[in-house]
């Protein structure tokens, strides 16, 4: 704010409109103050700032001291030499200065010394509203309190004279309302120049060793008595006569409210106004009280005056009733409102009539109008504040579990949302010792945030102590080169710029200084600090956004093609799951460390693209890493109705393309899914009350079950029919429990049935029901999910011997193979299952023979590896020529395949080196067919090879008939069968919907690859087939996921940063160019890489 042009004039001038702070400065100017030392602190900051502006013109020695103790000592030393000095700070600063202040009255001053300590009733900008009038009493200092700026000027002037008269520093105690309030002030003449200063030796008066101190104490009493003698002079005590025997004593700004209230009440009662707080003006008080029966004491905060008046009256034997706080008339806390003073007066004077506060208000909102609410506007870090980058990185690195202690400054705002970086806050410099000892007590590594000014003010001793104790603490020094919160006063750090050297000199070996604009370096430095032990210091340097007068850098540009988009949404598969701030923060940090997202980065993570069901893998893996199991389950459940099937039987195309692998193992995505499904929790599924048409699904295997679940979602009432008594199909009846644990399978199936799906077991198509019959029952459509449940029959001589089995019947009811030598013909998963299950059941040996070379075997490579580890012998590239043995099979003749026709179907054409192998049981696992015999299927649906004819979405040549799963594709994988069921449900919905809009298809189109492809990486995964990772293992493994791909539901820039320049809303956020200073934090924090620095 501009000062009046003639603010420094020697001659009387004005009138001006001055704030209390400015008036105090002018008072000091008029009194020829020579030395001023202060520390910024609301509401006193402007005193120092104003002296800073005028010092050159007036030749005043002004400094922003490192802290209030030093400020006080600096001012005292000047006063010791006969100079007039002033120090100013907020009330809390007095506490910091209290140690030297407690002994100064013993030494006394030679030149006048004024201490301005500004109070803050109502805690406008302070953590407490201490009443430091008691401190004056405790230490023996004269204390004054002005009621308006004009009086502030007068009192400041007079305080210097008072100080010299009694040789004690004088405490001036303005409150915030006075400091910042403005009123008319007339300036007086400046005193003539003062003589130069000199230090005069006085051992008895300047060395308070015990022998001198006692004498000094006696002198203090005399000095205070001198001060009291001043109170008779005008300006310190003002008595206004009045009528009646009830009076008012008032001090401070509330004095004005007393006058206002008395005017309003049209009362003229005796009023005693005290600008002198200590020593108490006993004479004036006594004569005032003598004439009264009752007195109301009006003051803010504690009953300091009230108690003193009561005690005085008691001592003097004056019978007077003292009213005020002690009897509940005057509030103890906060500022006194005009209304409160009015109420107290009316009560004491027993007046009726309207209270001041009963003024008419605007009517409230009309009942029929919507109620409008202005969203809260708490203070936030400025747009472009470097501390935002520090808090963003620190929150990501340290996570929610770390105890964080914050300190006093702008950066205290980091404790508010979205960062929440602050569990405890105390006083200047407290962060380091608190964090250090909390680390010791909790056994955890803790974090302290402290600004540069605060660090130099009071942080260094704490750091030294932490080094001594080798405490497990990370100290993040937020260096913005200034003291920002109080008005951008220079900080000692800015002048010296050697914080790193200071930190190292205090003994910290693990210290680093980072420019916060380099997000990557900052994140890595914090990571390193987190992993270290003992004290680590990271100096996060970046200039305050308000410091630089230069043009700010231009705002980043937002690419709408990358924001709020991912490939899944474009493919019609939006997941609708908003990632939590924890996950977004991890993703943002991963991006920051990885650097800019290249244009060739895939929109969708490769794993999600490869998933036949279209599950968003980063969504659930990221949630597991963040410990958010509910969200993870929701992400999986959004696409997979039977997640345990995926978790145990999926062919894992995701892991084959995992970007985190890079030659090492991919993220164990499948094992993580097992972790989720084994927790026992189910994602909450909201299904509408089925009101729609009934649909029949023949076959309750994976395809049928998935189709049923999807149809319920779409409002239909599906009924499942299966030839077997229990649902599940192949998975429940032909996959060994060692690969598909029954408990979780039953749970998933039950969950589908619990949606309201009816199940009819023991019903075979063509026997118990027919297609026409189903339609006659009222089903609007029929889905054939028959599976491929017939084992292919071998054309090998001797296949009719006893002991020769087909794979699926073998697995459905495993015969006694104990001690037998089992030979399995086939190279797929079923062959492996047979071999491994045989060994589990006590077979002596199990050998797998298949004509294709090993690398072409369709069995899952890891199942192959596990099988071999369990003892299965694999002879790839071999074929069985014939089986021999009288009655039961005893021997198999096996040859090496030298000629192979890959068909399909696969056939060997030439063999060599035929040898005999002993075998007690031979099982053929050479393929599966659809069982369409006697089903009564229309010809248009059945293909030449027995498979049903349908398109990718299950549509057949008949409008009401659909087909899904292995029955259409031939033997495929469980996941693909389920995806087929989901697609078919969509096609059915479209067919029956008519004009009603239909939700998009919720499974992607099938991709070319339908079987396992041997991936060198997928062999022997860390977690075995049915291993369930522990929570800790799952979290660690999930953290390996790099969260590739974009996220269409991302809100990272809005939710993680809380920058005023980023305005969120529906969809893409907007950037406010008028607030943005181009700091670039959002650019490297953007998960999708949608923000860029303009060229």
């Amino acid at each position: 704010m501009a000062l009046p042009r003639d603010f420094c004039a020697d001659a009387p001038t004005g009138p001006w409109l001055l704030s209390g702070n400015e008036a105090i400065v002018r008072g000091g100017v008029e009194a020829r103050v020579q030395v001023v030392s202060g520390y910024p602190g609301t509401p006193a900051s402007e005193i120092g700032d104003t002296f800073a502006r005028i010092r050159a013109e007036l030749g005043i020695d002004f400094e922003y001291a490192v802290n209030e103790k030093v400020a006080l000592e600096s001012a005292f030393a000047a006063a010791l030499c006969g100079a007039r000095s002033l120090c100013s700070f907020k009330h809390l600063g007095l506490n910091a200065a209290a140690d030297p202040l407690s002994t100064i009255p013993y030494l006394g001053v030679r030149g006048g010394m004024v201490i301005v300590a500004a109070a803050d009733p109502g805690c406008q900008t302070s953590p407490n509203e201490q009443d430091h009038r008691y401190l004056a009493q405790m230490l023996g200092l004269p204390a004054l309190e002005p009621a308006d700026p004009a009086e502030a000027l007068q009192l400041t002037r007079a305080a210097f004279d008072l100080s010299e008269a009694c040789q004690l520093p004088v405490l001036l105690r303005p409150t915030a309302r006075l400091c910042h309030g403005r009123a008319k002030v007339v300036a007086g003449a400046r005193l003539p120049t003062r003589s130069p200063t000199a230090f005069v030796r006085d051992p008895g008066g300047l060395l308070p060793v015990p022998q001198h101190a006692r004498a000094m104490r006696e002198r203090l009493t005399q000095r205070l008595a001198l001060a009291e003698a001043w109170w008779d002079k005008s300006g310190f005590v003002r008595a206004t006569p009045g009528d009646g025997r009830i009076g008012v004593i008032a001090a401070g700004v509330p004095r004005n409210a007393v006058h206002l209230a008395l005017d309003h009440l049209r009362q003229t009662v005796p009023v005693l106004e005290l600008a002198a707080l200590h020593p108490l003006p006993t004479a004036a008080l006594a004569s005032f009280a003598w004439a009264l029966d009752e007195v109301l004491v009006v003051e803010e905060l504690s009953p300091y005056l009230e108690d003193a008046v009561a005690a005085l009256a008691q001592r003097l034997g004056v019978r007077i009733r003292v009213r005020g706080k002690r009897d509940g008339l005057v509030p103890w806390t906060g500022e006194l409102t005009t209304e409160a003073v009015d109420d107290a007066l009316r009560s004491v004077l027993a007046l009726a009539g309207p209270a001041l506060g009963s003024a008419s208000r605007a009517p409230g909102p009309a009942a029929d109008r919507p109620s409008l609410v202005a969203p809260a506007r708490p203070p936030v870090l400025c747009a472009g504040c470097p501390h935002r980058a520090s808090f963003h990185a620190a929150t990501a690195v340290f996570g929610a579990g770390t105890v964080v202690v914050n300190d006093i400054g702008c950066y205290t705002l980091g404790a508010l949302p979205p960062h929440g970086a602050g569990d405890v806050l105390l006083a200047m410099g407290s962060s380091i010792p608190l964090a250090a000892t909390l680390a010791r007590t909790t056994g955890q590594r803790t974090v302290a945030f402290i600004g540069d000014s605060t660090f130099l003010h009071a942080g260094m001793p704490g750091l030294l102590q932490a080094v001594e104790r080798a405490d497990e603490v990370v100290v993040v020094v937020l260096d913005n080169h200034t003291t920002a919160m109080t008005g951008l006063q220079p900080s000692a750090a800015a002048r010296t710029r050697n914080l790193l050297a200071i930190v190292r000199a205090l003994g910290v070996d693990q210290a680093a200084e980072v420019d916060v604009r380099d997000g990557r370096a900052l994140t890595l430095a914090l990571h390193a600090a987190r992993r270290q032990s003992g004290v680590s210091v990271v100096i996060a340097a970046g200039p305050c956004a308000r410091l630089s007068a230069a043009r700010p850098a231009p705002a980043p540009t937002l690419d709408p093609d990358r924001c709020h988009t991912c490939g899944m949404r474009e493919a019609g598969l939006p997941c609708g799951l908003a990632p939590s701030p924890t996950v977004q923060r991890r993703a943002a940090t991963l991006r920051t460390i990885a650097g800019a997202i290249g244009a060739d980065q895939p929109r969708t993570s490769p794993c999600s693209t490869a998933c036949p069901l279209g599950i968003c893998v980063p969504a659930y893996v990221g949630a597991i890493a963040a410990g958010e199991l509910d969200r993870a389950l929701q992400a999986v459940g959004a696409r997979a109705a039977l997640p345990s099937l995926c978790a145990h039987l999926c062919h894992r195309p995701c892991e084959a393309v995992c970007a985190a692998s890079q030659g090492r193992a991919p993220v164990a995505i499948n094992a993580l899914k097992r972790y989720l499904t084994e927790t026992g929790a189910r994602a909450t599924v909201v299904s509408p009350a089925p009101m729609g048409p009934s649909v029949a699904i023949v076959g309750a295997g994976p395809a049928g079950l998935a189709c049923a679940a999807e149809l319920v979602r779409r409002g239909y009432r599906p009924a499942l029919y299966d030839a077997r008594e229990r649902p599940g199909g192949m998975v429940a009846h032909a996959v060994p429990a060692a690969r598909m644990p029954r408990a979780v399978l039953e749970r998933d199936i039950a969950a589908v049935l619990d949606l309201g799906v009816r199940f009819f077991g023991g019903v075979r198509l063509g026997r118990e029901v027919t297609l026409d019959g189903l339609r006659a029952q009222g089903h609007a459509a029929v889905v054939l999910a028959l599976g491929a449940r017939l084992s292919a029959v071998p054309a090998v001589h001797g296949a009719d011997l006893a002991g020769v089995d087909l794979a699926l019947p073998f697995l459905s009811a495993v015969p006694d193979v104990a001690g037998q030598r089992v030979l399995v013909v086939g190279g797929g998963d079923v062959a492996l299952d047979v071999a491994r299950e045989s060994l589990r059941r006590g077979a002596a040996t199990a050998t797998v023979v298949c004509p294709e070379p090993r690398e072409d075997m369709s069995a899952a490579p890891d199942a192959l590896a596990l099988g071999e580890a369990e003892g299965v012998v694999v002879r790839a590239g071999c074929a069985v020529v014939r089986l021999e043995g009288p009655g039961a099979v005893h021997r198999a003749v096996v040859g090496s395949v030298v000629g192979l026709d890959r068909g399909p179907p696969l056939r060997w054409t030439a063999l060599a080196n035929e040898t005999a192998a002993l075998a007690d049981r031979v099982v053929f696992a050479i393929g599966q067919r659809v069982d369409t015999a006697d089903c009564g299927l229309p010809q248009v649906v059945v293909g030449t090879d027995g498979r049903l004819l349908a398109d990718t979405h299950g549509r057949t040549g008949l409008a009401w008939l659909f087909a899904a799963g292995d029955a259409v594709t031939g033997p495929s994988t469980v996941t693909q069968a389920m995806a087929s069921g989901v697609r078919t449900a969509w096609a059915l919905d479209v067919a029956l919907a008519g004009d009603r809009p239909v939700d998009p298809c919720r499974a992607p189109l099938p991709q070319g690859q339908t079987r396992h492809r041997p991936s060198p990486i997928a062999v022997l995964p860390r977690f075995g087939e049915i291993d369930v990772p522990t929570a800790a293992e799952a979290a660690t493994e999930a953290e390996r996921c790099r969260l590739c791909g974009l996220c269409a539901n991302c809100t990272a820039c809005v939710d993680l940063l809380g920058c005023p320049a980023i305005v969120g809303g529906e969809g893409v956020p907007s950037l406010r160019g008028d607030l943005c200073n181009g700091c670039g934090l959002c650019v490297h924090a953007c998960v999708n890489g949608a923000l860029a620095v303009p060229p």
Binding site: M1, L17, S19, T42, P43, Q124, T125, D148, A176, R177, H180, G181, R182, A183, K184, V253, P254, N256, A257, L260, E300, E335, L336, T337, T338, E339, L356, S360, R361, A362, P363, G364, P365, A366, R369, P370, L372, V373, A374, P375, A376, R377, P378, P379, V380, C410, L413, P417, M485, G487, R546, V1054, D1055, G1058, P1060, I1062, V1063, G1064, G1065, P1069
Partner: protein, 191 residues
């Protein structure tokens, strides 16, 4: 009167300018300001009392005038106003980051203005930011509203005195622009 807005808009400066004008015209005046957190985008309020020299504590008594440099702040202070409070507002909304963070609905400018007109006898809505853009000086929105305020005879401070204060308090280079902004505010309200 109460002057409200967002930190950095010039609320406090406008209050001081008005008070300077009063001082020049020898009208007793007292100003109180809510400081501190205002620099960090928080709400700011300044109160100017004309005809009194008592620097009082906070009061619940509704003001005769409210000058709002931002509409959400006008809405926020509305429950404390009286029906007779005359409002001079800038048609400008600055949503706080908390609205984005907590997904709070932000009422539209039109809705707020309508609400103010519904509950107050007199509302003058000025496009002060548009004037500021036209004049080419950021931060003169407060000056524009002062111009609009001074139109009221009930104010008790001569317009010339406030205008002179505006001129004196701004840098030389911006003087013409500031005075133009003031005049445009005054003429706007006269429409």
């Amino acid at each position: 009167m109460w002057l409200v807005g967002v930190g950095g808009q010039g609320v406090v400066s406008a209050a001081q300018t008005l008070a300077e004008g009063a001082l020049r015209a020898s009208v007793p005046v007292v100003v109180t300001e809510m400081h501190g957190m205002a620099q960090r985008g928080g709400a700011v309020e300044a109160r100017v009392r004309l005809g009194s020299e008592h620097l009082c504590g906070p009061t619940q008594r509704p003001p005769e005038f409210v000058v709002a440099l931002e509409l959400l702040e006008a809405l926020r202070v509305l429950p404390h106003l009286a029906r007779y409070t005359r409002a001079i507002v800038d048609r400008h909304i600055s949503p706080p980051p908390s609205a984005s963070l907590r997904r709070l609905a932000v009422p539209s400018a039109a809705a707020i203005e309508s609400e103010l007109r519904q509950r107050l006898t007199e509302v003058a809505a000025v496009d002060a930011h548009a004037v500021a853009r036209e004049v080419g000086i950021a931060g003169v929105a407060g000056v524009v509203l002062l111009g609009a305020l001074c139109r009221h005879a009930a104010l008790g401070v001569p317009t010339d005195a406030v205008r002179a204060a505006v001129g004196d308090r701004c840098p030389e280079a911006h003087r013409a622009g500031n005075l133009r902004a003031f005049d445009m505010g005054a003429s706007w309200a006269a429409r």
